[in-house]
Amino acid sequence: MYTWKDYVGYDRLPHIWCSGCGNGIIFNALGQALEKMQLPLEKVVIVSGSGCFAKIVNYPGVNTVKMLHGRVLSGATGIAMANPELTVFALMGDGDGTTIGGNHLIHAARRNINVTAILGNNYNYGMTGGQYSGTTPEGSITATSRYGLVEDGFDACKLVEAAGASYVARTTAYDVLELQKMIIEATEKPGFAFIDVLAACPTHYGRLNKMGTPAEQMLKIKEGTVPVAKAAKMSPEELKGKLLTGKLVDRNDREDYAVLYAKMAKEARGE
């Protein structure tokens, strides 16, 4: 029987994240979800890249690997294809996941690689001092958009849905129990599963955009979202600027890449 402490590597804590940061909340939710699933420690691999969230690899009691910035999903792809028995988590910030690694996000979803990707989406590069990323909303003040951001961020969930992911969900770091549930669903789902977790970076994004205390920032992020069921009854005007939360995609029409590849190879060998 493993506890969440075994999965997160409790003895290596405390972690380095700022108080109020969403990263620690997501990490805790992952530990709790793993405790519920009771996966053997040696069969779990956590892959990260660069940035604050990527530091997660320094703690867990399961296998971890830190790839270079943006290469989280391509590394996870190699791991998942070399040993399909492993449960592979790709933990990425919005830099890793949607910006420098955006191309890999498209193709991991398109191939339907059996990986659970969790995006710690806090709208900026925390590690390097709070510059804007591919998800930063237009008008935001960041370390590299002092007069307001001219670009607009994009909806990562819509992107991976269009690319072919089997499971897509969104929640916020405020809704930690929902996040735990989603992690379990995503892990149990064969194929590519993606969870967009909207989270606070109080040190940079929250401070520069005058979002108040970390708790207030978390609430503000939550207020910018609408659960899918509720959204169905709302007008386009009411939904303007809101992000949908909840389970957005749950497809069963396509097997994951490793299964399809193994079938093709078997046929090629005439077995």
Binding site: E42, K66, R71, G75, T77, I79, I106
Partner: protein, 377 residues
């Protein structure tokens, strides 16, 4: 049973050599003139239980190669030109995390898009120094189709022996030349080292900063749980960024290869016993050198060839031995003198060395080498 002999391209021989060495994973992005490697890998790997992955670019190819290796596969990739530039990113990661793998660079004319279909040897220094910061790396260069097969086997062996990425520096000419290859089965001792650390899982460390005995790399999913962090790390694999750890790690990564340069130095000698004119070359230009040597010998000139199959670490002893007997040393290569500058670095006795270069996307002819020799006589 006698070995099968087949008539094939250099690119195909590399794939067959890799598979003979136990390779079962390929991740790459097609690029001329290396694409036949991807094509053959996609055809042969599924037949032997392996996986071919066509990634979205060279950045992801190199990462998938590493990821698959950590999860227990024996992996390789191939590229060319600017694809090699992109792979440098994660080659540095493989150096830092000591992830054994094989990268084939089929050199073509450059810079940038350059001469996509034409041979060149301009990546000698990029193979050595293409990724950031101090590190060492192993680079092997085949000059024939048979050598493509043989060096692919050696590359995998060295990658696991030294826990390092190994580069096979081929070129468009060797890649597309068609010759006979003996498809021999490697002896057990020629194969990559085991992935079983044979210690108690609680004692396993993924790194050992001992240049003579790098740690055994366990596979994710085995009973050995480990961390692999590309930041400066200690032997646990976890980030530790103190000055002392950085110092130990960087020196270790350098020493584990450079201290064993002689063990890694593969060279071939042709008519070197009494040679006074010594041609030092590699890859396709070593073939040009042999052509020149034969013509010179026919004229009664004592010419010999030292072919470097290992480029990095530089085979200093073999080169210095050749220089010691040379009245004149000649370094023909399809670049502006990258190998030549390295030969000169070790030319401590000040022998006369000339550089024969060409960047026209054409091979050096034996006559061009002979002409260069006559000009300095």
């Amino acid at each position: 049973m006698s070995d099968k002999v087949m008539f094939m391209q250099g690119n195909e021989a590399i794939v067959r050599g890799a598979i003979a060495a136990g390779a079962n994973f390929y991740a790459g992005y097609p690029i001329t003139p290396s694409s036949e490697i991807a094509e053959k890998a996609s055809e042969l790997l599924p037949l032997c239980g392996g996986v071919y992955m066509q990634m979205e670019d060279e950045l992801s190819s190199m990462t998938a190669v590493e990821g698959s290796t950590l999860a227990g596969a024996r992996s390789f990739t191939a590229t060319s030109g600017l694809g090699f530039s992109m792979m440098q990113e994660h080659i540095g990661h493989a150096v830092m995390c000591e992830v054994p793998c094989v990268i084939v660079d089929v050199q073509r004319g450059g810079p940038a898009t350059g001469l996509a279909t034409k041979p060149a040897q301009g990546d000698v220094m990029q193979a050595r120094w293409g990724t950031n910061s101090d590190h060492s790396i192993i680079t092997l260069a085949p000059a024939s189709v048979e050598e493509c097969y043989e060096l692919a086997i050696k590359a995998f062996h060295l990658a696991y022996r030294f826990r390092t990425p190994v580069i096979i520096l081929s070129d468009a000419s060797v890649a597309h030349m068609v010759e006979n290859v003996r498809l021999r089965t490697p002896k057990p001792e020629e194969l990559p080292a085991s992935r079983d650390p044979q210690c108690d899982p609680s004692e396993y460390l993924p790194h050992r900063f001992d240049p003579d005995h790098p740690a055994t790399l366990a596979a994710f999913g085995s009973k050995y749980i480990y961390h692999m962090v590309s930041s400066t790390h200690d032997e646990t694999g976890l980030a530790k960024t103190t000055p002392d750890v950085s110092d130990r790690l960087v020196h270790y990564l350098w020493d584990k290869i450079e201290n064993h340069a002689e063990e890694i130095a593969y060279t071939k000698e042709y008519e070197m016993e009494d040679a006074e004119i010594v041609l030092i070359s590699f890859g396709c230009s070593a073939r040009s050198a042999r052509g020149a040597m034969e013509k010179l010998r026919a004229q009664g000139v004592k010419a010999g060839v030292l072919q470097l199959q290992t480029i990095w670490p530089f085979p200093v002893k073999a080169v210095q031995k050749a220089l010691a007997q040379a009245k004149l040393a000649v370094v023909p290569e399809l670049n502006l003198g990258q190998l030549y500058s390295e030969v000169q670095r070790y030319n401590v006795e000040g022998r006369k060395v000339i550089s024969v270069t060409k960047v026209r996307g054409e091979l050096i002819t034996p006559d061009e080498i002979i002409k260069a020799i006559e000009e300095v006589k």
